[in-house]
């Protein structure tokens, strides 16, 4: 009984449920059949035809959700995911194109280069806060734009594929690519991201560093009082965050079409989807995975719903928006609950 109550009262479940119900009302209002529409979303994303696409989307969404969740767990927001993602992709492309090593080693090196580029760039935002007092929210966001422009410049001029009309690099040499599962588009990148999620869970629950991260997120003054060095924590969390974003960029470049195409990494707005997923889950490791999966299903399922029913795929965006609104309302929830207890003491 208590368990059931707790789950229903859980704000995440509540937001999602509310989104689904309100979405259904929308559908009824426009004369569409909500059951058919939702069925199309589910079969389109989880059926045999859709699952591959869903898992590919999940790779990016989950990777970026983790990138944003890691600092968020300590109450820090990294708004520079796009810049770190793009730099990671560009670093991987350059490494892939010019590495003298055999292909399998080049793949590993490209992934590492992507992570290093993202990490270094995100760490720069942390340094801006630690040394110069620029709030992380601002420094990370502002640094994002020059990074994207720089990569764009490289793809348009020095590294541009000769003869192509597109702002893209040459294709990576044969074999410099992530292995795929069977004939699908799902790469081992998914595995890497899942491993990252597991590592995040482990750090969060089982390490002293994860403990400091959680306590800082719950009460920064408390952790400062107890001697947790905030600056060091910020720097390390941002580096990890940037590394994860860079990894997603590298995975993108090492998958079809095996090159850096300007704008393609950021076009789907996965950084924002990832941020939403991380917020929805309050950055908890398991919750972040579930929320990312939920959003990947909505994105892929929405497309297929549009194809098979009359309902435009914007409905899934409405759904997402409703969930976000409820989530925003919920962000005040723990605070409110806490105040109430405090008064009662």
């Amino acid at each position: 009984m208590h368990r059931i109550k707790a789950v229903v009262a859980s704000p995440v479940a509540f937001s999602v449920l509310a989104g689904v119900v309100i979405g259904a009302l929308f559908l009824v209002g426009t004369g569409a059949d909500p059951v058919a529409a939702y069925e199309a979303v589910i079969t389109g994303s989880l059926g045999a035809d859709g699952i591959g696409s869903t898992l590919t989307t999940l790779t990016s969404v989950l990777g970026l959700a983790l990138a944003l969740a890691v600092p968020l767990r300590a109450g820090l927001i990294n708004l520079g995911g796009d810049g770190q993602l793009v730099l990671g992709g560009m670093a991987a492309a350059v490494t892939g194109l010019y590495s003298p090593l055999p292909a399998p080693l080049t793949v590993v090196l490209s992934l590492l280069a992507g992570m290093a580029a993202g990490a270094g760039y995100a760490a720069l935002a942390a340094v801006c806060e630690n040394r110069f007092g620029v709030p992380l929210l601002v420094s990370s966001l502002l640094l994002s734009y020059p990074a994207a422009s720089f990569a764009s410049y490289l793809a348009r001029y020095p590294l541009k594929e000769p003869g192509s009309s597109l702002p893209q690099t040459r294709q990576l040499p044969d074999g410099v690519a992530l292995a795929t599962f069977g004939s699908s588009t799902v790469t081992v990148g998914l595995l890497l991201v899942v491993v990252a999620a597991a590592a995040y869970w482990f750090t969060d629950r089982r390490t002293a560093f994860g403990y400091e991260m959680r306590m800082t997120g719950l009460n920064a003054r408390f952790s400062a009082y107890a001697g947790v060095e905030r600056k060091g924590l910020t720097l390390r969390l941002m580096a990890v965050s940037g590394a994860l974003a860079g990894l997603v960029g590298a995975i993108g470049v090492l998958s079809f079409p095996y090159r850096f195409l300007d704008g393609s990494l950021t076009a789907s707005g996965y950084t924002w989807t990832g941020l939403t997923a991380a917020l929805l889950a309050a950055a908890s490791p398991v919750g972040t995975v579930l929320a990312s999966f939920f959003f990947a299903v909505l994105q892929v399922g929405g497309l297929s719903m549009e194809r098979t029913t009359e309902v435009p795929r914007e409905l899934t965006q409405v759904l997402q928006a409703i969930v976000i609104v409820f989530l925003a309302a919920r962000l005040r929830f723990p605070q409110w609950w806490f105040n109430r207890r405090k008064e009662a003491v």
Partner: protein
Amino acid sequence: MTPPPPADMREAAVELRGITKRFPGTLANDAVDLTVSRGEIHALMGENGAGKSTLMSVLYGMERPDAGTVHVDGREVTFSDPGDAMAAGLGMVHQSFKLFDSLTVAENVVYAAEPRRFGLVDRGAARRRVRELAEEHGLAVDPDALVGDLPVGLRQRVEILKLLHRGARTLILDEPTAVLTPAEADALFAVLKSLAAQGRTVILVTHKLREVLEGSDNVTVLRDGRVVARLVTAETSAADIAAAMTGRAVELDRVHASGTPGATVLDVTDLATDGVRGVQLAVRAGEIVGIAGVAGNGQSELVEALAGLRPVTAGRVALLGDDITHASATERRARGLAYVPEDRHAVGTAPAASVADNLAMGHHRTSLSSRGLLPPTAVRGHAQRLIERFGIKASSPEVPASSLSGGNLQKLLIGRELAHDAPLLLVEQPTRGVDIGAVQNIHDQLIAYRDAGHAVLLVSAELSEIRGLADRVLVMYEGRVTASYDKAEADERTLGLAMAGGPAPTEVRD
């Protein structure tokens, strides 16, 4: 004080019948009956976690009882939120005030019940209203002052004015004097008595026996969620109440024997920081040095500077002979400092985290972890040991710290910091909001800590606490240490005079 007429002669303002409230793992209220007559000041007492705040939350519509009924003015009522309770003439002053610091007194008082003119808030009327109310009830306060600039005692007046503005006939105050200076507390009781004389009713939750004896008409004592005694104040004594609360005889205001001081542990020369100048002090191993003073004379700033949470602007601080003047909080802790801060919600704990996580803080890099790993079993075991050793009432180590009662949260903090076994312990207001039995326990722990050869710097607003524990007493006044006494010289009168800074007391008084 004249004894009140028997309860059945007067109309009951509030009556709780058979209130039962259960939380997971805790029976917070167990068939509690409480009747409070109109015009009465009724004290509600009990150990930490006895269920006082829970009972008041039920009365005020913040918690729903699992069983039992609430009657106001003879009618049965069901409140679904505090708004309903207010409409029925109840008003509650919470321990942490709920005021807007950036608004004026008048704006705070009328908030959510503003006088209107042409649909807009009528500021002139609001100001007049506050003046009238203040005059009528002897609650002098400037309606145009910003609440953020007021001392705690005056903020509390604003809270009371707010309730009176909304026409509250029954006032509930949960530990109202925990944060007040003795003079502010006296002023509060004068106000409460005049309110009662006008026929309003006051329910007061407090741990301070002196206040109850001087200020209340009747006392109800809770233990483990049940009413164990209903006493008429005029016919009872401090010892009786204490015995009812704890179920055993309690020795009140004990003065502990002096320690045997050894080598100097903390040595402070000419220290200055915000609001603190030229502080000179030393604490030796096996010694408790107490800092007395009216709140706001630099004690908190001094302790924060010593803990590394506030920059030192001049002077020198040495811990065990090493210069730590500019060391970070982290380094200081590593060198042997533990600290119990005054504000346990905002600084001393993460209320949303579990009891176990809160108890692990500071131990998570030392005794509990190896090679960076922090096994949950170690955290849990550590929590269980401290819960046992310090008698913290928590239904499990996994519940959030915010679900602990006020006094138990304080025990958690003290237990965690004592467990560091650090050569120097800084402790501020160790027994604020703690019941008398637990006060004794905490005092014994601090004395044992001293006798184990540690140095303790104690800041407290309770003179009896300073006198009972400290081997030496320093008095702070306007940011300086203005006097120093040995245990034997430090009587209440001498300290009181020194705290007032000599000639004129600077207290806010009517």
